[in-house]
């Protein structure tokens, strides 16, 4: 919840800021800067890893010359900075290179997985966001009441359930015992919508559990903040009824922080879902990257990392823009 104050504060400080367009452009510029930083970080990080892809491909059986040959073939002998530049150059030309492990083009490898990940994220968002917002908002309206306290408890409790535990319990109940839902989420192409729903039910439920609490708490925090403002009191004195009070008066002003909260939670849905993808053997991006790390397939690792980072930055950017739009001081000057 405390993250919310950060966001609220951020919102407040924006009042003196230059016009919207400038701000957006600045954010984009910063994002690009960050992307670059991440690319360096990722590259450096992967350099730290012991053992290299040649080892991984050939294994212990590899004779020194075989290793040397393969390393040369994979340009592993070049100095790190040179390989980095090559990679960056390629990236700038929309060419992420080829997997060191199976020679397939990164684009095709990542492409399918990315689509899967996005689908999963989308489904989860559609389910979680409305739910979390409703709970957060209602908790804010009835703050201090028993309901509020219960929500507070539950949200913490849900946060503290290990994902894989929830996932496994769910599978045992709904897949193994009741046989209502599949234990795997390998969605075949051209699956019917019903099949789709069944396939996604369990992973989506698990993920929702993971991000729901955070989102709800931050929404509540943001809203409580505006609900205690004197223009809301004024609205009450005008005879505005609770529903309208929240929807017309409080929410628009809490939009910025709420959007930010949602963005933060959603950014988890691409990179943070390794466990879900593993348990339901869902062919997503996170699992791909974990594989890539263990097979030391650096181009793949880097590509994935860049995608995650970009996704995060995009989300935050969108949230910020929403926050800016929600603030007339910036729209009209």
């Amino acid at each position: 919840m405390a993250d919310a104050i950060a966001l609220l504060a951020a919102g407040r400080r924006r009042f003196a800021a230059p016009p919207l367009a400038v701000l957006v452009l600045r954010r984009i510029a910063v994002s690009l800067l960050l992307l670059f930083a991440v690319s360096v970080l990722v590259f450096a990080g992967t350099e730290m890893l012991p053992g290299d892809v040649a080892q991984m491909i050939l294994g212990q059986g590899a004779t020194p010359q075989a290793l040397a040959g393969l390393r040369a073939a994979l340009h592993l002998n070049e100095p790190a900075w040179l390989r980095y530049l090559h990679w960056l150059w390629g990236l700038l030309h929309g060419n992420a290179g080829h997997s060191l492990v199976n020679g397939m083009s990164i684009a095709t490898l990542v492409g399918r997985r990315l689509v899967n990940s996005l689908w999963l994220a989308l489904f989860t968002t559609v389910v979680t966001v409305p739910l979390a917002l409703t709970v957060g908002i209602t908790a804010a309206i009835w703050r201090g009441t028993a309901y509020d306290r219960v929500v507070n408890m539950l949200t913490i409790a849900t946060v503290s359930v290990p994902e894989f535990l929830f996932a496994t319990v769910a599978v045992l109940i709904f897949a193994v015992r009741l046989r209502w839902l599949p234990a795997l989420s390998l969605v075949m192409r051209g699956a019917s919508f019903a099949e789709l729903l069944r396939a996604y039910a369990l992973p989506v439920a698990t993920l929702s559990l993971a991000i729901f609490a955070q989102m709800a708490r931050m929404t509540r925090a943001a809203l409580v903040n505006t609900l205690s403002s004197s223009y809301v009191e004024m609205a009450v004195l005008k005879g505005v009824r609770p529903v309208r009070l929240v929807l017309r008066h409080a929410l628009p002003n809490a939009l910025g922080p709420v959007a930010n909260a949602v963005a933060l939670s959603l950014s988890f849905l691409l990179g943070g879902v390794v466990i879900v993808e593993t348990v339901f053997s869902y062919p997503g991006l996170a699992k791909l990257m974990v594989d890539a790390v263990s097979t030391r397939d650096m181009p793949l690792v880097q590509a994935c990392a860049m995608i995650f980072c970009t996704a995060y930055l995009l989300l935050v950017l969108v949230a910020d823009i929403i926050a800016l739009l929600a603030n007339p001081r910036l729209r009209h000057r």
Binding site: R113, T168, S281
Partner: protein, 530 residues
């Protein structure tokens, strides 16, 4: 499981005991005498006597899955890869359930001196793309393993084939560096399957095999559909096989129980309880001779002390390991790598017991009692963390303190195995005892885990290859087993069974002791009923 990282040299145990030695000898000598192994196809197992049904789809999950998945035989390095190879390719020979290497693409494999071999090929076989199968393809497929650029996993074995040349469209002559009567077995190794001459891109999986690639997506899944003009008449039985890896053990078992998949390979002993409890499911137990061994470097300060090594061997609570780690799905080992199911297994070799007194005695002698030692274990070496805990627990009883340092599976094989002086390894079955010993115990062996250097042993090993008399050979193997049991820095408490769980609607599913999933060759042998 170690497979996904530890490159596996292929194979299985030598012909199993239930095959009368006589018939074996006759078969072999026949070959020696220039007789030939006729293409009898695969003998149908007894329990599969019920007529196979055609049609139906099967969904199978292995335990390994990563972008490393490949259809290139030279790089296949784990169970799921092997299984795929046998869906799309054939070898010149193939193992039956008794580990006889029977001709497959070959019509016959002949030799007079166990050094120069003539392989006659079946005629009229076509690849999936319609092009005919000829000797050129064989030469290409075998020779490429020798090329360093291929970086083939089986290069050391391929190098035994000094010369591979075509003699006419349907005959290949192979000259070995030295006599080796086991060439038919070597050719049955899964990496030795035949690909099309000049193939560069293997992702299409163009072979002669029972199935054609419909989809292959590394780290995701593969879909194989019936090859209508497969040369084994009537096979395969299935229309389609969807095959992928589920790396999470619990998830794999649950996927089977929920009916999402029909076969789950490499399930944990724990899961078997749950599966046996459920109706309509069964467990296939393959005693292929896989083992997780305690490794002590014989040239390292502490582990180098022979008394320490003996003490550790006496501290192995083999029964407890079998029962609580593998829940009984294992057979007691005797600190030597040849499994009881192996004809060369020397039953007369006394079983080393759990003996705290002897252990204590040797530790005292080594002056190590009361001292500490660091033991590295990892899930990468199947069951080793739990085996370590048990060893630690037993050692505590005689006041010897073992500190377990468990390291992540990720990177274990490159960073700890063969490097740490006191650790665990996991060794997969090999097609022949000879290959196994060559790879792990010969002084010059690439994977000589305990740095075991013994001239007598090396001599015996070389000699055994050329030795054609079974009895003599057995004698040699017995001596080698004793040497390893007493002197090598290796503790082998148990041999671990490979466990596959399957839905009982899957028929014709029986163990072939080169590994799980019928020695990875289930696809063309099973069918579904109901």
């Amino acid at each position: 499981m170690s497979d996904d990282i530890l490159p596996t040299l292929p194979g299985g145990t030598a012909p199993s005991v239930d095959l009368p030695a006589a018939s074996r000898r006759s078969l072999l000598s026949m070959a020696m005498a220039g007789g030939l192994i006729t293409a009898g196809g695969l003998a149908l197992p007894a329990e599969a006597a019920t007529a196979p049904k055609r049609g139906g789809k099967l969904t199978v999950a292995g335990y390994a899955s990563s972008t490393k998945d490949t259809l290139d035989p030279a790089h296949a390095s784990n169970s799921t890869d092997y299984s795929r190879l046998f869906m799309f390719y054939n070898g010149l020979t193939v193992f039956d359930r008794h580990l006889n290497a029977l001709p497959d693409l070959a019509e016959s494999v002949e030799t007079k001196d166990a050094k120069n071999w003539v392989v006659k090929l079946r005629k009229g076989i076509t690849f999936h793309d319609g092009s005919p199968f000829t000797s050129a393809d064989v030469v290409f497929s075998l020779a490429r393993h020798k090329d360093p650029a291929t970086s083939s996993v089986v290069r050391p074995i391929a190098l035994q084939m000094q010369e591979i040349k075509a003699a006419g469209p349907h005959e290949v002559r192979i000259t070995l560096t030295g006599p080796n009567s086991e060439l038919p077995s070597l050719l049955a190794i899964y990496q030795m399957v035949i690909v099309k001459d000049g193939t560069k891109d293997f992702s299409k999986g163009i072979g002669t095999g029972p199935f054609v690639v419909k989809e292959f997506n590394p780290g995701v899944r593969s879909i194989a559909v019936r090859n209508p003009n497969y040369f084994h008449h009537g096979k395969p039985y299935l229309d389609e096989v969807t095959f992928f890896g589920i790396t999470d053990n619990a998830a794999r078992a649950n996927a089977l129980l929920s009916g999402d998949i029909d076969i789950a390979s490499g399930i944990t002993p724990l899961a078997t309880r749950q599966i046996k409890a459920a109706k309509g499911f069964a467990v296939l137990n393959t005693a292929a001779g896989n083992y997780t061994d305690l490794i002590m470097h014989l040239d390292a300060p502490m582990t180098g002390n022979p008394d320490f090594v003996l003490a550790m061997k006496y501290l192995q609570d083999r029964e407890r390991i079998r029962d609580s780690v593998f829940l009984g799905y294992a057979t007691i080992g005797n600190d030597q790598p040849i499994a009881p199911s192996n004809p060369y297994y020397d039953a007369s070799l006394p079983q080393r017991p759990l003996d705290l007194e002897k252990a204590k005695f040797h530790l005292k002698k080594a002056g190590m009692l009361g001292s500490k030692v660091r033991l590295v274990s990892s899930v990468a070496a199947t069951g080793s963390p739990d085996m370590a805990v048990i060893l630690q627990d037993t050692a505590r009883k005689i006041g010897f303190d073992i500190q377990i340092d468990r390291v992540p599976a990720n990177g274990y094989w490159s960073n700890y195995w063969l490097k740490a002086p006191f650790t665990y390894g996991n060794i997969n079955p090999r097609p022949t005892a000879n290959i196994l010993l060559t790879l792990f115990f010969q002084s010059t062996a690439p994977w000589n885990e305990s740095h075991f250097k013994n001239p007598t042993f090396d001599k015996l090993l070389i000699a055994s290859r050329a030795e054609t008399d079974l009895a003599k050979r057995k004698q040699m193997y017995a001596e080698m087993q004793k040497l390893i049991r007493d002197d090598a820095g290796i503790g082998i408490p148990v041999f671990i069974s490979d466990l596959d769980a399957y839905s009982t609607r899957v028929k014709g599913f029986y163990p072939i002791p080169t590994g799980d999933l019928m020695g990875f060759n289930f696809a063309q042998n099973v069918w579904v009923d109901g």
